[in-house]
Symmetry: C2
């Protein structure tokens, strides 16, 4: 597993270099479900490159990936969950605040996750048998904090509509932040800069953080407190496991 983890790090770093180079040039932007659901030609090229590298090294492994409807069941065999550019809206509008994400599962059990904050050059990696690092800094597990000294990351629409009562919960905190991009937001939770994160996201958006978070005392659950299905887009929360009681008294 150690070799596979090191291999994954080289794949994600190469993908990061590819994106940083290619974003200097023109690329194609297309709409998916609606005018704010965007994909670029770089998302697709980057994903294809990552899959090719993994297939070369591990020809029997499977994929659950954002682009091109690659949807292997998470529970069957060795599965790589890939998001070539997470936070595509930030990527397009800002050229910043986006991430590349990888997660590796065996028979439905998370082995390690990786999130690369491309423009900051910070790789968050670990989970399973591995401690979680942000580059060379080992991340500390969640420590109980006064909610009134904490900020909560939210999805704009869910905040506006008080979906599942999340605004009631954020009222216990010092305020909310909307960064856009699940990957970047969840790195802020893992590094203690946000208390929790709520959004409406897909398996490739939450898989890596779910594995790393578990190691650090965070739970990735639907707003109803269930395990996410690793199939559809769901309203999920990434929250300190120790705070689940309080959170679930307000969020459901």
């Amino acid at each position: 597993m150690n070799r596979k983890f090191l291999f994954a790090k080289t794949v994600i770093q190469k993908a990061g270099i590819f994106i940083k180079e290619q974003m200097q040039h023109d690329f194609l932007i297309e709409e998916k479900a609606d005018e704010t659901d965007l994909v670029t030609s770089l998302d697709k090229q980057c994903q294809a490159m990552m899959i090719e590298a993994i297939r070369d090294a591990y020809p029997d492994d499977h994929f659950l990936a954002e682009e091109d409807d690659i949807r292997h069941l998470i529970s069957k065999g060795n599965v790589w969950v890939l998001d070539p550019i997470d936070g595509t809206v930030n990527f397009i509008a800002q050229g910043d605040h986006f991430a590349i994400m990888m997660a590796y599962y065996e028979e439905g059990v998370g082995q390690f996750g990786l999130i690369l904050d491309v423009m900051r050059g910070i790789l968050y990696a670990g989970g399973g048998q591995f401690d979680v690092y942000a580059n060379d800094t080992r991340l500390e597990p969640y420590q109980q904090r006064d909610f009134k000294r904490c900020l909560v990351g939210v999805n704009a629409q869910m905040y506006l509509e008080n979906t599942a009562g999340i605004r009631d919960f954020t009222a216990l905190a010092l305020g909310v932040r909307i960064y856009g991009g699940a990957g970047i937001s969840m790195t802020q939770v893992m590094s203690g800069k946000l208390l929790a994160y709520f959004s409406n996201i897909a398996p490739w958006d939450y898989a890596a953080a779910a594995i790393m978070g578990e190691k650090l005392g965070y739970s990735l659950l639907t707003v109803n407190g269930e395990k996410p299905d690793f199939k559809t887009r769901q309203q999920v929360m990434f929250v300190p496991t120790k705070a689940l009681g309080v959170i679930q008294s307000l969020v459901h």
Copy 2:
């Protein structure tokens, strides 16, 4: 003026080093107007240090500063507008995403502004007779963009309540972001990562960006389209001057 501008850069960089050192140790947190309006002992110490340095060099200059009710009229003489820690909530909850800000006015006319993103080590400085730089990179003036490919920075409360119609305007864009901290948010506007920014803020929160922004094609106005008063907290917008027509058809 060139000497004064260089002097201001040394003052803000020293203040940044002071904050980075001191934040490693315990510091006092106090509530001002309410439980989310916070100030730390470092805000006060840092401001006192900056004022002392400026007084030593320019004994006849005046101050309009956030802490300790230092409120010289912007229109009279040489006035330094200081915010020792902008984004105090981020500073306390995240140890990140906060800024130090300085602006220098003569008889009410902005001469230069400075915003130091302390944790990223990026100094935004310029305005008046000086081009605006982010460290060694000269910032480009605003260029007309498709709103549907842009993000807008907002204050959470104003967004929630659609204050002055700002949510109607943000509906023209790709989405909203809430970063907290006027300084950090307005650096994102000046570097083209946000189209515009709306918040309810005080003179020391907007003075530096107002001066630099003018040089880059942005206007700092109240949501009613007036010059801010440099006295009270007001609902203001920091927006591309070329887009003022469209914005004012929705925001007022």
